[in-house]
Symmetry: C2
Subunit: 139 residues, 2 copies
DNA sequence: GTAGATGCAAAGTATTTGCGACAAG
DNA sequence: CTTGTCGCAAATACTTTGCATCTAC
C-alpha cells in the first residue's frame, strides 16, 4: 500500500479542503469504477451539502494531478478510478457490466513497438476488452 | 473495394432515402474519422436542407447495421468511420490529432488469450495508442 | 489576509425525441 | 396505401462556469 490520496495532494501542492478529503476517502474505498453521479451519491451520504459541481471540479483536478484516471467506456458517462503504480487495463463483461482488471506485459511491449514502428513515442494508451462469460469451464 | 454502403443498406433491409444516400456517399469518400458535426457540414454542402437530427439518426442506424463504427477518442465527440472487413486500431498523435490506422495480429491474439484466461469469449475490443512524433534524428 | 475553493443556478455541449408533414417501397 | 423517415424545435444528459461567499494556509 503506497501513499494515500491525501498524501498525494500534499506532495503535489493541492489544497486539502473538507470536501476534497471526503471525495478522496470515498474514492480510495471504492473498488469499482464509479461515475460522477455515483461518486456524488456516495459522497453525499457523508456530507449532504457537497455540490455536484464540486465533485466534477475535484475529479478533474485529481485527474490532472495524476491522482485519479478517467475512463470512458462504451456509450456511458466518464468513470473514475484511483491511479496507483500498477497500471492495468480492463475487461468488461458486456452482459453484466462487471469490470475485470488485468495486466499483460507482452501487450504493453507490443504497443510500444507499434508506436515506434510508426515513428512515435507512446505516451498513453487505452485498451478495453469486451467479452461474454464462457460458462462451461475454468474460472 | 467491397460492397458500397448503399449495397449494404439493401442487403440489410435499410430503407434508402435521399438523405441516407448522401450521408453514405460522404462517409465512403472520407478517409478521416469525422464527428457528427463535421459530417453534417460535409453533407450540407451537397444538400443544405438535411438536418443534424437526421445525421445523428443515420449514423446510429448505420452503426447498428454494422455499416459504420463509432469511436470515442479521448475527451471528444463521437467520431465515425466506415466499417470494412479489415479491422484496425488507431494511433493518435496527441499534438496534432492525426490518426494512423494499424493492425497487429500478435496483439489481437494476445487479447483473445487474456479474455480466455479470465473465462471470457472476446466479442469486441478497443485499442488506442496515444503518441508524440519522434524526431527523425534521434533522441 | 488572500488566493483559491465552494454552492448555486444558469449556461454549455452533445445527443435524442415528439410531432405533424412527407416519401419509399 | 402504409410504414418509416424527415425537419424542426424542444427536451435530455452530462459537464462547465460566473458570481458572491467562504475557508485553508
Amino acid at each position: 500500500m503506497s501513499e494515500t490520496i491525501e498524501q498525494k495532494c500534499l506532495s503535489k501542492g493541492v489544497k486539502l479542503t473538507e470536501q476534497r478529503k471526503i471525495i478522496a476517502k470515498v474514492m480510495s474505498e471504492s473498488t469499482d469504477h464509479p461515475d460522477v453521479d455515483e461518486l456524488y451519491k456516495r459522497v453525499s451520504k457523508i456530507d449532504s451539502k457537497i455540490s455536484i459541481a464540486t465533485v466534477y471540479r475535484t475529479v478533474k483536478l485529481f485527474e490532472e494531478s495524476g491522482i485519479l484516471t478517467k475512463h470512458e467506456f462504451k456509450g456511458g458517462k466518464a468513470r473514475y478510478e484511483e491511479l496507483n503504480e500498477g497500471h492495468h487495463d480492463h475487461l468488461i463483461d458486456v452482459k453484466t457490466g462487471e469490470i475485470i482488471e488485468f495486466v499483460d506485459n507482452e501487450i504493453e511491449k507490443l504497443q510500444k513497438r507499434v508506436a515506434e514502428k510508426h515513428g512515435y513515442k507512446l505516451v498513453d494508451h487505452k485498451l478495453e476488452l469486451y467479452g461474454v462469460k464462457v460458462d462451461t469451464k475454468n474460472e
